[in-house]
């Protein structure tokens, strides 16, 4: 306990000294996020300084072991760091699918050689990963996926198509679910890792209702994937044909991440900020809207407590293994409601699509983006199915 308090005061002092003022503003949109990767550029000096300070300290991935680029923080210390960063609204120094998804999978299923190589690359922001799961015919029913890897001895020849691959056009590598046995639905999928620069990989951005194109169709046309990248470094995670186990494990992480369980913008109350925002434009908040804001804040603050409880329970293995599905369901539905209310408070100004005043239509584009929250990573309906089956044990679910 005393150690933790020392750690807290040290962390606070370190943040004070190292987190530039510009990095103490909530993330407003894509531009504010540093994703890393071969083609990455920093948006400004503050972003660079903050990233480098964290990198040196292992704080791009604070809870990972030191040998893989992390700071080796205990869960309690990681919570303190999160709280202290939250207190000053510090932005994450580095964001990536590597940190959120592939990393946890490798920590759990990876070989030492894979960890040494891939985790360090992720921690240093050198390689940007994308997630190749969904296909045109396989969304919620992911296990029906058809992209096929033909076994050629020391390599596979992969053919097929993925869709909704977030940032595929900017990613360096892909972790991809590929069918390697057509006779077994669940035990016929391999979790492969390969370079997006491989011959035969192509991507085509998809334009969304938000006007942005954060994701792509991804095509594999006779892509040669070697089975190994060297000593103790296979090109697949877990075992061949057992990639579904890895994918399932990861979906838990993805859902947890999308749920916003760690606190931050997605779970904060908004009423007070909305009142200030509307006062700035000389508007006021209708009493009925205020009432909805208050009801929202009750739900948001209660959900924040839930997030804290959930993380506390995960640490000691008390959380129900299917609980991330509940968190994802509630967290994303709340975030959609939050943006509906923000649009209502903003009035006609929040309708502007590309004005300078709105930073190029951030309110409207952000609002539209949230509609994907309850689709990506498993839809709300699928989350409810999983709760019914795995937690409530309802028949036939």
């Amino acid at each position: 306990m005393a150690d933790l308090e020392t750690f807290r005061s040290e962390t606070r002092a370190w943040l004070e000294a190292n987190c530039p003022a510009e990095m103490r503003e909530p993330v407003r949109d894509e531009d504010d996020i540093y994703w890393g990767g071969r083609r990455a550029t920093f948006k400004n000096d503050a972003q660079k300084a903050w990233f480098e300070a964290c990198l040196a300290k292992g704080y791009t991935v604070p809870a990972w072991p030191k040998e893989y680029g992390g700071a080796g923080l205990s869960p309690e210390q990681a919570k303190v760091l999160r709280e202290e960063m939250g207190r000053i609204s510090a932005r994450p120094p580095l964001s990536s699918f590597g940190i959120w998804m592939l990393g946890p999978a490798l920590l759990h299923f990876g070989t030492e050689g894979q960890k040494q190589r891939f985790l360090n690359e992720i921690a240093r922001g050198e390689i940007r990963w994308c997630q190749g799961y969904s296909e045109p015919g396989s969304g919620s029913d992911l296990v029906s996926l058809q992209t096929y890897g033909d076994d050629q001895g020391d390599h596979w020849i992969v053919n097929g198509q993925k869709v909704w691959t977030s940032y595929a056009d900017q990613a360096d590598w892909i972790f991809c679910l590929v069918r390697t046995d057509k006779t077994d639905k669940y035990k016929g999928i391999t979790f492969m890792l390969y370079d997006m620069a491989s011959e035969g990989v192509s991507t085509k951005p998809i334009l969304l209702i938000s006007g942005n194109s954060p994701f792509c169709e991804t095509f594999f046309d006779n892509v040669k994937v070697p089975k190994s990248y060297g000593d103790d470094c296979p090109a697949y995670v877990g075992q061949v044909n057992r990639g579904w186990d890895v994918a399932k494990y990861l979906l838990g992480h993805e859902r947890e991440m999308i749920s916003g369980a760690g606190g931050g913008d997605r779970t904060a109350a908004i009423g007070a900020a909305m009142k200030r925002a509307s006062a700035r434009t000389g508007d006021d908040v209708d009493p009925v809207l205020r009432a909805e804001l208050a009801m929202f804040d009750v739900d948001a603050l209660a959900y924040t407590a839930m997030g804290e409880k959930f993380l506390d329970e995960i640490k000691v293995g008390k959380a129900h293994p299917a609980q991330p599905n509940m968190m994802k369901y509630v967290g994303t539905e709340l975030n959609k409601r939050r943006h509906e209310l923000m649009m209502a408070v903003g009035g006609s100004r929040s309708l502007e699509w590309d004005s300078e005043d709105t930073g190029g239509g951030k309110p409207a584009r952000g609002w539209l983006r949230t509609k994907a929250n309850s689709i990506e990573g498993g839809t709300s309906e699928v989350m409810l199915n999983v709760i019914a089956k795995r937690i409530l044990d309802l028949p036939g679910a």
């Binding site: 109350a269 009423g271 007070a272 909305m274 009142k275 908040v285 205020r290 009432a291 804001l293 208050a294 009801m295 804040d297 009750v298 739900d299 603050l301 209660a302 959900y303 407590a305 839930m306 804290e308 409880k309 959930f310 506390d312 329970e313 640490k315 000691v316 008390k318 609980q323 509940m326 369901y329 509630v330 309906e381 989350m383 409810l384 199915n385 709760i387 019914a388 937690i391 409530l392 044990d393 309802l394 028949p395 036939g396 679910a397």
Partner: protein, 379 residues
């Protein structure tokens, strides 16, 4: 502090769950006393048993003969009371009145705490004066008279007012009705002359009173805490009571949910268990999520309150509002998913609906507390 029970609390939860399921269950208590038209609305025998378990004095310090526990522990007992719809003076006596008495002089503690801890006495609290909870407005007056006070006014929604051996009354000793200051709390004994009760049975079969004070003469030693400085004690009572009511509400919500989910696994229609219908599965899953969240925010509020945090007041209102919304959802979905049988008196689910209604109203409903969340947040 992690947001789950520590080992001691988990042990207490096991004990409380077993004990209240056994002794405080719906057949043995709620239906038993209701069907006999009991005027108290609860059983004194169970109250005595709760004393033997140490529950009655949980929030009283060890120095004063209690267990010196906190609101997490009281909440553990309350959640089981909620789950079993157990009629009991626990919330009003052992949480609200005990909180007031903990702020009182040694003399007043000595007069009332032993009876509470022994389970011999029951206390009520008289705060509301109108049909909605408006504690900022206190019009009942206590005028100086000789060495004491003369109490005049009326209170409503005094739970178990006519069975109480003592009622903690919030009255005004100075200032105007809406002033924050000028409140004094009094311990008014059962037999005080000039106090009269109009007892009413509520929808959940509990008993409440409209209580009139017609020049009730009180000694100076009836004062709990400071004269004119009672607002702070009143606020402490309200805070403890709201967090306690939230815990009881979590029990009501999860009791109703569990009954309903069980029913979904038993009832067949169209050749299937009704729990196989996805329309019902999704509603049950949604309800489960809400109940989990209500429980989380309640333990958060309990811990903040026990830690003496400034945040406790806000979180108490968040918890009270969230639980009220959640328990409402649970009982509505519960009755609906039971179909016709849900409307029958024979089946317990309707009793949950009635209890939720009364409990949510007590110390402020979801609207009151959502509004309070907005005010405390600055809008």
């Amino acid at each position: 502090m992690p947001l789950y029970h520590n080992d001691d609390q988990a042990m207490l939860a096991d004990t409380a769950r077993g004990f209240i399921a056994e002794e405080g269950n719906i057949a043995k208590q709620l239906r038993h006393w209701r069907d006999r038209d009991c005027k108290d609305g609860f059983g004194h025998g169970l109250w005595k048993q709760m004393a033997e378990m140490g529950f009655t004095g949980m929030l009283v310090s060890e120095a004063d003969g209690g267990l010196g526990m906190g609101h997490v522990e009281a909440g553990i007992v309350l959640e089981e009371i909620g789950r079993n719809l157990t009629p009991s003076p626990f919330l009003t006596s052992s949480v609200l009145a005990a909180t007031a008495l903990n702020h009182g002089s040694d003399d007043i503690k000595g007069r009332y705490l032993p009876g509470l801890i022994a389970g011999d006495h029951v206390f009520a609290v008289a705060i509301d004066e109108t049909a909605k909870h408006r504690p900022s407005r206190i019009a009942t007056r206590a005028e100086k008279s000789g060495n004491g006070f003369r109490l005049t006014g009326s209170k409503s929604f005094v739970i178990q007012g006519s069975s109480a051996d003592m009622i903690v009354v919030a009255a005004r000793t100075s200032g105007a009705d809406d002033d924050a200051d000028g409140i004094t709390l009094f311990a008014v004994p059962k037999d005080a002359s000039g106090m009269s009760h109009d007892a009413v049975r509520l929808v959940d079969t509990s008993m409440a009173t409209h209580t009139k004070f017609d020049g009730v003469e009180l000694d100076g030693d009836a004062v709990i805490g400071e004269i004119d400085g009672g607002r702070a004690v009143l606020d402490a009572m309200l805070l403890a009571g709201r967090v306690g009511a939230a815990a009881e509400g979590v029990g009501v919500a999860s009791g109703a949910m569990d009954m309903t989910v069980d029913y979904l696994k038993q009832r067949k229609q169209f050749g299937k268990l009704i729990g196989e219908f996805q329309a019902l599965q999704h509603r049950a899953s949604h309800l489960y999520s809400e109940v989990e969240i209500a429980r989380a925010v309640t333990i958060k509020a309990q811990q903040l309150l026990d830690a003496g945090s400034q945040q406790a007041d806000l979180m108490a209102s968040v918890a009270k509002a969230k639980v009220a919304k959640t328990a409402r959802l649970a009982v509505q979905e519960g009755v609906q998913m039971h179909g016709g049988i849900g409307m029958t008196d024979e089946y317990d689910i309707g009793l949950y609906m009635k209890r939720d209604r009364a409990l949510a109203e007590f110390l402020g409903d979801a609207y009151f507390h959502a509004n309070r969340v907005a005010e405390l947040s600055g809008y």
